[in-house]
């Protein structure tokens, strides 16, 4: 790995300043970034660690639902969100393995927007608000395709606000070696309607399945999905599964998520 300057600010304001330098990048839990740097796919000149910023950590009930600090590790969300939003806590408790959950953070996951990551589906299905150092971004505007988001250069996610649904569940099918989702579905039922977000499957990253949302909005039951089919055309095709396989899997998992949420 190429060497770099390591900086660990204690406030968001200092982190923003430190990130203004050329070649500077933020580092959260590092569970994706560090392996990427080892392969020299990413060679920052300065890393700004966000793990020492107290104002970016923790889970609490607040205006508009559950507020999760962006630098909160998955293990803490799994434990502390359980009383308020069990489906979100269960998702956090199923990411990677225990060591990854000790370090990896929700902000890091959302900023990276890996097409197979779990958290983007929770944010999109919940209609979460991504709070940064400069603005608030609706989840519907935030995810912009493979590893691509609405974040500007040097902008830091500080908090994620989740409206809490009446019923919700996340079900994923693990790729057995990497444990990343081959497909994962988050279903959230609110009084005003149902939101369904699918991760792991599409070439464009996480997306909402509009037909399933209206069918489930009319009748929140697995049978509502019977006549619906996702197209495999825009799905990821690789040695682990074809696009058609992932499309089918996403539908099966949506049914399972509805059952788990009911």
């Amino acid at each position: 790995m190429r060497d770099f300057e390591f900086v660990k600010p204690a406030t968001v304001a200092d982190a923003v300043k430190a990130l203004a330098a050329d070649g500077a990048q933020p580092l959260s839990g590092g569970q994706t970034l560090i392996p990427t740097m080892k392969q020299r796919l990413n060679t920052p000149e300065r890393l700004v660690s966000l793990t020492g910023i107290a104002e970016m950590k923790g889970v609490c009930k607040g205006e508009g639902g559950l507020h999760v600090g962006a630098a909160t590790p998955h293990a803490v969300v799994a434990r502390d969100a359980a009383a308020y939003y069990p489906a979100l806590a269960a998702l956090a408790g199923g990411i990677g393995d225990p060591a990854v959950r000790s370090r990896g953070t929700i902000g890091g996951s959302l900023a990276n927007n890996d097409p197979s990551a779990c958290y983007p589906s929770a944010a999109l299905a919940s209609g979460a608000t991504i709070v940064t150092n400069t603005r608030k971004i609706a989840a519907d505007d935030y995810f912009q395709g493979l590893f691509s988001t609405a974040l500007e250069e040097g902008e830091i996610i500080t908090e994620v606000r989740f409206p809490i649904p009446e019923k919700a569940a996340y079900v994923k099918f693990n790729q057995p070696a990497s444990r990343f989702a081959l497909a994962g579905v988050f279903v959230a039922k609110f009084s005003g309607g149902v939101r369904v977000a699918i991760t792991g499957a599409s070439n464009d990253g996480v997306f909402r399945w509009a037909e399933a949302e209206s069918a489930l909005g009319a009748n929140f039951a697995p049978s509502s999905l019977e006549g619906l089919n996702l197209s495999g055309d825009d799905m990821i095709s690789d040695l682990h599964g074809t696009g058609a396989y992932r499309a089918h899997l996403a539908k099966v998992l949506t049914k399972r998520a509805v059952i788990a949420a009911s």
């Binding site: 790995m1 190429r2 060497d3 770099f4 300057e5 390591f6 660990k8 580092l27 590092g30 569970q31 560090i34 392996p35 740097m37 080892k38 890393l47 660690s49 793990t51 590790p73 293990a75 990677g96 393995d97 225990p98 060591a99 990854v100 000790s102 370090r103 444990r179």
Partner: protein, 161 residues
Amino acid sequence: MAKVSMTVNGKTVTREVEGRTLLSTFLREDLGLTGTHIGCDTSQCGACTVHVDGQQVKGCTVFALDVDGADIRTIEGMANKDGSLSVIQQAFQDHHGLQCGFCTPGMVMAAASLLAVNPKPTEAEIRHHLEGNLCRCTGYHNIVKAVMAASGQDVGSIAAE
């Protein structure tokens, strides 16, 4: 180079390190604590598992400077004060929970982390918790047995090899 200080197995240490120095490299090369093994160096195998402020992490996927001031525990800090094996270590020996032993430091650290929050885990919980630790020798059965035994539970219900 920058100065880093941490407590490792109860002892405060301070060294000068590069930004890119990983915790696993720091422990092995700067402190000579080679019990923390580097198996894959790609965050997959868990042989480098250590505890940072009581949480298990992969030492190869954390920068030393990022855990400045932390309380670190490695396999060298797991034995009893008199030098005898801890309950978990003894259970690995009693139940043949290792063959080549390369993954064992990580397995013991992961098991300790599980038992700290869940003193009587089920077999399924043990297997789920050890997902991030690979063993290429044992087929895992005896490792699961060892963790079960270390928690004071009967191992008779676990599948034979």
